[in-house]
Amino acid sequence: MNIDNIEMNEVLPAVFAAQGAPGSEIWCRNVAFERGHSYLVSAQSGTGKSSLCSYMYGYRSDYSGRISFSGIDIATLGISQWCELRCRHLAYLPQEMRLFPELSAIENVELKNRLTGHRNRSEIEQMFERLGIQDKINQPVAYLSIGQQQRVAIIRALCQPFDFILLDEPVSHLDESNNHLAAKLVSEEAKRQGAGIIATSVGNNVMITVDKEYKL
């Protein structure tokens, strides 16, 4: 199932049910994200930025309203369909990265790539090089800085074909030059696949060209 667009109709996290979400351009609105375009969702802490990503990625469903992929309500999708989406159509970089600290950087990436078979070894090494962490490739993730871990997580997220990529604060711990390198890598990859980008940020915006910015 290809995701040509992601539509959100009157979506509101259950925790906001009482007070609503005044001023939000996403919650309780009808919003559509189109494939091939880039979006930035800027937010303040506590406005439900990570919730938005987890709803779209299918591991939380504590909301009212309707989210649909190419017109299909995602609440109706089964486990196997979600697994297929996560391997082939929807890439995700969680804010907390969710790397396995006891595995090395390359093993973390391999864990995803072996599942999708999307990249060969030299392509992966090239990405490490482009992001300036080629010397960390065999280091256990536990010994990497948060910024380095963020880059490993970005590489891992790119080890699959995707129609959309969700980036939850992808560059919060990157300096400007590394932000630039990461943004360039993601944009290139999205463009190559004709995919859409949805990035969130509380301040340190990823340096991609966005087609539309929403305030959460």
Binding site: Y57, R86, S104, E110, L111, Q160
Partner: protein, 401 residues
């Protein structure tokens, strides 16, 4: 450059953390003990079973001999120890009764003398008759013709042993074999009804079942007509073919009616019954141990999954299916249980080889291995399936945060 890893290897490296060798070992040992107990009980039963069902075995007892209980005073007061027609009728209607045979007793006196060499044994004798179908080993020359006057006799095999190993040994008499004794004539002097006659008896067979001296029914009829009074006598001893020896109904019935089952052989039917119960109890204990082991495993799995829940969730986030994520644990359980199954079967076979010589010498032909092994496979398959189900269920419960 780094060595490459298959995703399965990587998964196992991630998920083996918190796998408790102690818990796994605890389960394995408990499960192995339970399995071996169940298996051994079933194997032993299946090895002993041929002894229970063969016709000539000591365990099986198709016939019981019934008498009325004779109390000291009852006998003096002349209470009747004979079975009435009503009582016989009621007995033959019992569901556990196949056939009832009556012992007929002589109504005259018998004086017997047995001569071999220059020595002789002389004594008052007693014999009985039963219908031919109740005699276990019917000899060729069985029956009686008044014109010939020769009487075939069957005696209990116990009597021969008693003579050979008791009497002959202490009195310096020759020991005799079964074949030899048939050649020795026994003079039977019958007297009653104002007459006295001598007929020639010959021991033609031995019985394991009938603990008495038996003559053919035709002879008994003839001699009673000739030497006895005319009145019809009711039988005081009965031989009963029963459908299931050791049936509780038999002892209940005989107790209620004041009958006695003669001979300790009546108890042997109970031996098979007891064996079955004992096997059942032991197998149940083994089953309970296996069940407890299974719960240890389930608990251990649930603890393991709980400790690794974050990792399992992260793997699901990457797009791994619950089946893929469960696979390392499923493999671990299957491998462990396969080892337990093999060890359990091996241990059972080793134990069997220890007791089998004894059983063979007792006349068992040995039972099949199929049923116990099939049971073992079924038990371990059930434990494995249950565990896999538990693993899958727990992984699926991690699907949503």
């Amino acid at each position: 450059m780094s060595k490459t890893h298959s995703p399965n290897n990587l998964l196992w490296r991630l998920l083996r953390k918190h796998v408790s060798a102690g818990q796994l070992l605890g389960f394995s040992v408990a499960s192995l003990i339970g399995l071996v107990i169940v298996l051994l009980a079933l194997q032993f039963y299946s090895d002993v079973k041929p002894m229970l069902s063969s016709d000539d075995s000591f365990m099986r007892r198709d016939y019981i001999i019934l008498t009325k209980t004779v109390s000291g005073f009852g006998a003096l007061l002349g209470s009747n120890a004979d079975f009435s027609d009503d009582e016989l009728d009621d007995l033959s209607k019992q569901p556990w009764v196949r056939k009832v045979g009556q012992f007929t007793t002589p109504q005259y006196r018998i004086y017997g003398s047995l001569t071999f060499g220059n020595r002789a044994l002389r004594t008052y004798l007693f014999y009985e008759s039963v219908p031919d179908e109740f005699i276990d080993e019917l000899p060729d020359r069985w029956g009686f013709d008044p014109a010939e006057g020769k009487v075939p006799v069957i005696v209990s095999r116990d009597y021969l042993s008693l003579y050979n190993f008791g009497f002959a040994a202490t009195r310096n008499m020759p020991q005799v074999s079964e074949g030899m004794i048939g050649m020795i004539p026994v003079q039977l002097t019958l007297s009653g009804n104002g007459r006295s006659e001598t007929v020639e008896g010959r021991i033609v067979g031995f019985s394991n079942r009938l603990n008495t001296i038996i003559v053919p029914e035709q002879f008994m009829q003839w001699s009673n007509e000739r030497f006895g009074s005319d009145e019809k006598r009711q039988p005081s001893r009965l031989i009963v073919e029963v459908s299931s020896p050791g049936d509780k109904a038999i002892s209940e019935y005989t107790k209620a009616h004041g009958y006695e089952i003669a001979g300790d052989k009546a108890d042997s039917g109970k031996a098979s019954y007891m064996l079955r119960i004992l096997t059942g109890i032991i197998a149940t204990i083994g089953g309970i141990i296996s069940l407890l082991a299974f719960f240890v495993l389930i608990l251990s799995i649930s603890l393991l999954m709980q400790r690794n829940s974050r990792k399992l969730q992260d793997l699901l986030m990457l797009g791994y299916t619950p089946a893929q994520v469960s696979a390392p644990y499923v493999k671990m359980i299957v491998a462990t249980n396969a080892v337990i199954l093999i060890l359990g079967c091996a241990a059972t076979l080793i134990c069997r080889s220890l007791y089998m010589p004894t059983l063979l010498s007792l006349g068992s032909t040995g039972g099949g291995l199929l049923m116990p092994i099939a049971t073992a496979v079924a038990i371990m398959a059930a434990i494995t399936t249950g565990s896999i189900f538990s693993i899958r269920r727990r992984v699926s419960s991690l699907w949503k945060a």
